[in-house]
Symmetry: none
Subunit: 213 residues, 2 copies
DNA sequence: TTTTTTATACCGCAAATGCGGGAGGGCATC
DNA sequence: GATGCCCTCCCGCATTTGCGGTATAAAAAA
């Protein structure tokens, strides 16, 4: 069983070295490299070939978020564990969007660190509870506009609406669902009535917003 | 220090009772009630006054997701921990949207259960690593599609597109933006050309997806 | 200053859409 | 057997859209 290769990006010398020794000294892990900044990021990673990158958010030069984007683009298989001092909503949000797989605080215990590294490596997404709560909160904010009104659409109607919100015209829809153009029109009439709309765009809008599809 | 009050909703009798004894038998916890379904949900909760609700997703009658919505509406301070057998994307998504604060699998160990309950109570959001990963994945899917392509829309064009994705017709748009119907049409032509679309719906779709607005 | 861009506005025509109606077949429920 | 629901298809007509022009004036850029 080969060890999990970890590369560290952390500007604080003390923490960086502590982590280096912690990881190197743990059975089953191997700290392939430790950097203070993201200069030559891609080049360094090509050499290091890590399984997991431990990335600080606050860093001089290129910040952690930018680095995550680049890493995910160039080495999509690499798992990234973010570490930060603060509970900053924006940072969490951005890191998650950029493609980080885990998010822990620097106050985490050494054992916690090692568990988290193992977890991201195995496909999990470790987060300290409060970070997770923030992610969920963001998630709820950004996605909840999910009206739950039931419009009683029939399967066929849903199918057609599905196609409509892909930008298809009636003719194309008819083709896809295997009905005649006229039939599609009939369905649309019914859909409009059920959704209480009277135009193409309104239907698309409503369908997308309320996730009726 | 008063104990954390937990109410269980779980249709499986064996698991329900196991959890009941587990929670009751743990220092600092108190299982205020355990139900097999969500009948009289609100009434029962008023009596139980739990701090944390342990909710099964798959249940006869009202399912767990619906229950979460109601609980969060009626008792917003109550923390909800979902439990499920499966890793079903839709369920996770819906539960999170509905307002669940944590999400664990039934295969979780007794200690894991207790930790999770404590965690939600304290404002965290425990999730098994793989669940967290799925939530993040959903998050990334739903939020990142932030197209960075620049379509070079002029202010007026953006304004008009803005209106279009509200479901307005050209006439109505003309009225809102204070231009003539014909002018709006001209702008639309240009917008379509810039977005590389050729229908109403496609434009709305693209505008919404890429958040050009 | 000349050119380009933006916003304004109109005409015309073909196509698509919205809306009203009618009509038959299948299938399940009552 | 009757009723209701869903899916199917068609007709007609008024309106809206998509797309091709043309054109003017102000503003911005060259």
């Amino acid at each position: 069983m080969k060890p999990i290769r970890v590369t560290i990006f952390e500007d604080n010398k003390h923490l960086r070295e502590s982590l280096y020794y912690l990881i190197s000294g743990t059975e089953g892990f191997c700290c392939s490299d430790a950097f203070a900044d993201c200069n030559d990021l891609v080049f360094q990673l090509k050499k290091s070939m890590p399984d997991v990158v431990l990335m600080d958010i606050e860093m001089p030069g290129m910040n952690g978020i930018e680095a995550v984007k680049i890493i995910k683009q160039q080495f999509p298989q690499v798992q990234i564990l973010m570490q930060t001092v603060f509970h900053d909503d924006d940072n969490i949000f951005n890191a998650v969007c950029a493609g980080a797989s885990g998010y822990i605080l620097k106050t985490t215990s050494p054992e916690g660190y090692m568990e988290a590294i193992k977890d991201v490596y195995e496909g999990g997404s470790p987060m300290t509870g409060s970070v997770a709560r923030k992610v969920l909160a963001l998630f709820q904010q950004n996605v909840t506009p999910k009206g739950n009104t039931d419009y009683q659409l029939t399967p066929k109607e849903k199918e057609i609406l599905q196609q409509l919100i892909k930008g298809k015209s009636y003719k194309m829809i008819a083709d896809v669902v295997g009905s005649s153009y006229e039939t599609v029109r009939t369905h649309m009439k019914n859909i409009y009535a059920k959704l209480h709309v009277n135009s193409n765009t309104e239907a698309v809008l409503k369908a997308l917003q309320e996730k009726i599809v």
